[in-house]
């Protein structure tokens, strides 16, 4: 993981001091709310229904144990004892007081954390695959590139007042675990014919009112050119993105209105002028940033140690968990452990301060001090020795984060919704909770197999409902909560937007509808191991629509 140096820490400290001054000027009245609001947004401070919300950046979803302990401390001292992990690998606190924010930020700055650019019309947290550097199918660690870009766009004088927010994701595995194609810009690493690694650049993805899948504008960009090309895209967007209508201001609209080819041409023209300037990345600079990433001193271990097999034989629950939540690691003898933050009746992505402290300790003991945050709102311990899995499981089980439901129907992605968010039309968390109750039976959940449910409480789509296998969107009709259901969305390298199956259903019926859809799948699938998403693709949504709306 990346180690901040003196310079990085100084910047964050200066930011805290600046914000402290800005808060003081607001509280004294020297700044009006109109003047203060963009400034607080640039530090990730929102005003929500009940309180301020603070969003803290977790760059490319990588946390140290010290950082996780500090997140626990902030939850205790400044909030109500818990935090919420988001679909962009960040953490949110929902009960923050403005007057205490500078203190909270100073505490976070002491471990190199901050809320810079987690909101506002700037480049936001740059996300990657939470299995970066440990996934067997990876070309190179994408986080190095996320960090290169992160530094460049932090407090960038030209790009701090863009038409709208700008979200970037970087990937480097064949299988896209970072939902690249729903980002404003995504870089996917490839190896070309000459064995060089470079990036395919895609732009114009995004959900919300007008959803688009990103389009490739540059099939192969050399590493040396990453920053200058990013700069060219941002400059093109900053100058020509719409500013007349907040709902038409994202780059996806510009790309759509110009056409991908014309947009690519604009960028190329700009890029040609700057590609050999100061932004050209020479080997030295890349090596310097790469050198600040620390990798574990893995032990030489064998795969499938006998104690693991023995433990799986003797404990069915442990066995189920290994089968579900443990993934192959690129280093022999190691494993990637996913911590499910989706307990029955719980809020997806919420973690208490106590849980955070235990997880931090486990990370120190079993994962070289490192934790990962996934956009599916689960955590991961990325460097667990296979022989330690029984001990790790017992400890995770004791704090309730070892439910073997990862990627199953109860592993739901949901935004906070109307219970917290001032933008929402409807609640999302109680919908998720009820679904987890209906499908609490693990045998049933396993039989249904991989099935991604995404729930958003409004069209802003923070729950990514468009790309859920089952997407649920809360809307308001005559003061009541209703939900539109879509099927067949995908967030991976075959990214697809889901299809609406019919009229919105009332709040009380949503879990019933999900049960009907699950039942329909069981009947329609060709074989038990035909995935839900593949069944939907094969049959289309019609048979599901019939089933759901037969009696409604």
């Amino acid at each position: 993981m990346y180690l901040y140096d003196e310079l990085d820490r100084t910047l964050v400290g200066e930011r805290v001091a600046e914000f402290r001054g800005q808060v003081a000027r607001r509280l004294s009245g020297e700044l009006t709310e109109d003047e203060f609001k963009p400034l607080r947004l640039m530090n990730g401070v929102y005003l929500q229904l009940h309180a301020y919300m603070l969003r803290i950046s977790i760059p490319y979803g990588t946390l140290s144990s010290a950082q996780l302990r500090m997140l626990a401390h902030v939850a205790r001292r400044y909030d109500r004892g818990y935090g919420h992990f988001t679909t962009r690998q960040n953490i949110q606190y929902h009960w923050i007081k403005l007057e205490e924010l500078p203190d909270a930020m100073a505490d976070l700055a002491s471990v190199g954390m901050h809320g810079m650019q987690t909101s506002g019309n700037v480049v936001r947290n740059i996300t990657t695959d939470q299995w970066a550097s440990v996934a067997p199918d990876e070309i190179e660690d994408p986080r190095i590139w996320a960090e290169v870009i992160r530094q460049h766009v932090t407090l960038h004088p030209e790009f701090s007042f863009m038409p709208r927010k700008f979200k970037i994701a970087v990937g480097s595995s064949r299988h896209d675990r970072a939902a690249l194609r729903i980002h404003d810009m995504a870089l996917q690493m490839h190896r070309n014919g000459a064995g060089e690694t470079g990036f395919e650049v895609m732009v114009g993805g995004g959900l919300g009112r007008t959803a688009f899948i990103a389009k490739t504008i540059k099939p192969f960009l050399h590493k040396r050119d990453v920053l200058s090309y990013v700069e060219a895209v941002l400059r093109t967007y900053n100058q020509f993105g719409r500013r007349d209508n907040i709902y038409k201001a994202r780059i996806k609209i510009l790309v759509h209105e110009l056409g991908a080819e014309a947009f690519a041409k604009e960028v190329e023209t700009e890029w040609q002028s700057i590609k050999d300037g100061p932004l050209a990345l020479d080997e030295e600079v890349i090596a310097d940033i790469a050198s600040r990433f620390r990798y574990p001193a893995y032990a030489r271990l064998d795969d499938s140690p006998p104690e693991l097999a023995e433990a799986r034989r003797s404990d069915r629950r442990f066995d189920a968990w290994v089968g579900n939540s443990v993934a192959k690691h690129k280093v022999p003898g190691y494993a990637i452990v996913t911590l499910s933050l989706k307990p029955e009746g719980g809020t997806p992505g919420d973690v208490t301060a106590e849980q955070m402290d235990v997880i931090a300790d486990l990370a120190d003991r079993y994962s070289f001090g490192e934790i990962r945050v996934g956009h599916e709102q689960n955590l991961a311990l990325p460097h667990v020795a296979q022989r330690d899995l029984p001990a790790v499981w017992r400890a995770l089980d004791a704090i309730g984060v070892a439910i073997p439901n990862v990627n199953l129907i109860t592993d739901i992605i949901a935004c906070p919704g109307l219970d917290y968010c001032s933008l929402a039309n409807a609640r999302s968390i109680p919908i998720a909770q009820e679904i987890t109750r209906r499908f609490r039976n693990l045998d049933l959940a396993r039989d249904l197999g991989r099935l991604h449910i995404n729930i958003s409480g409004c069209i802003n789509a923070c729950g990514h409902h468009h790309v859920g296998h089952i997407g649920i969107l809360g809307v308001e009709k005559n003061g009541e909560e209703f939900y539109q259901i879509t099927l067949g969305g995908k967030a991976d390298e075959h990214a697809t937007l889901g299809t609406l199956i019919g009229p919105a259903v009332p709040y009380a019926q949503v879990a019933d509808v999900v049960e009907d859809i699950a039942a329909a799948y069981i009947e329609l699938r060709e074989r038990p191991d035909e995935l839900f998403i593949d069944t939907v693709k094969r049959t289309g949504v019609e048979p599901f629509r019939e089933r759901v709306y037969a009696a409604r």
Binding site: Q239, P278, E284
Partner: protein, 183 residues
């Protein structure tokens, strides 16, 4: 509206001339883009300094042929949140090599000062008097910058490299084009 130039509050020597008003002789003036382009050759030939107020939705490339004869280019922030003029400023300085006064107008507030300076502006028509007075404090909020820019401050990645490396040397040359130190 105080004018902060090169870090100090100064009198504005430039006079803004409306489109239908006569241009006074021997006086530094700022005219609109439309007026300038309608009469560019003639205006550019005048002795006294000439400035142009350029809209933020028009490419600054159009000005390029005249930059050598312009004493001032004024760019516009209709609302401080509309950041198009930052790109225009950088293009004028870095692409087209403009060396005259680059002025920020419109809604210009304290919390944008540092961004403005680093983007290449050297004079600001500051909206609030109190902000103008706080200029020096505002631009010394940060000592660390990740990006290379024309204000002479070395970007972080260059500060990390030993100064003798060719890469560091090249960058120092490129970013040292314009040096501006706030007091």
């Amino acid at each position: 509206m105080p004018l902060v130039k090169q870090g100090h509050i100064v009198e504005d020597v430039f006079v803004r001339v409306l489109d239908d008003a006569p241009i006074p002789d021997g006086v530094p003036v700022i005219v609109t883009a439309e007026r300038f382009l309608a009469d560019a050759a003639e205006l550019a030939a005048r002795e006294a300094p000439l400035g142009v107020l350029w809209p933020n939705n028009r490419k600054v490339a159009e000005l390029e042929p005249w930059l050598g004869r312009l004493a001032l280019v004024a760019l516009i922030f209709p609302k401080f949140r509309d950041g198009r003029a930052y790109s225009q400023a950088r293009l004028l300085r870095e692409r087209y090599g403009f060396r005259g006064e680059l002025r920020a107008t419109g809604e210009v507030l304290r919390d944008q000062f540092l961004f403005l300076i680093r983007a290449g502006f050297d004079s600001l028509e500051v909206t609030k008097a109190a902000d103008a007075e706080a200029f020096a404090a505002a631009v010394s909020t940060y000592s660390v910058f990740y990006q290379p820019s024309t204000d002479g401050r070395l970007a972080v990645r260059r500060r990390r490299l030993p100064p003798q490396t060719p890469a560091a040397g090249r960058e120092a040359q490129e970013t040292g084009q314009r040096h501006f130190e706030p007091r």
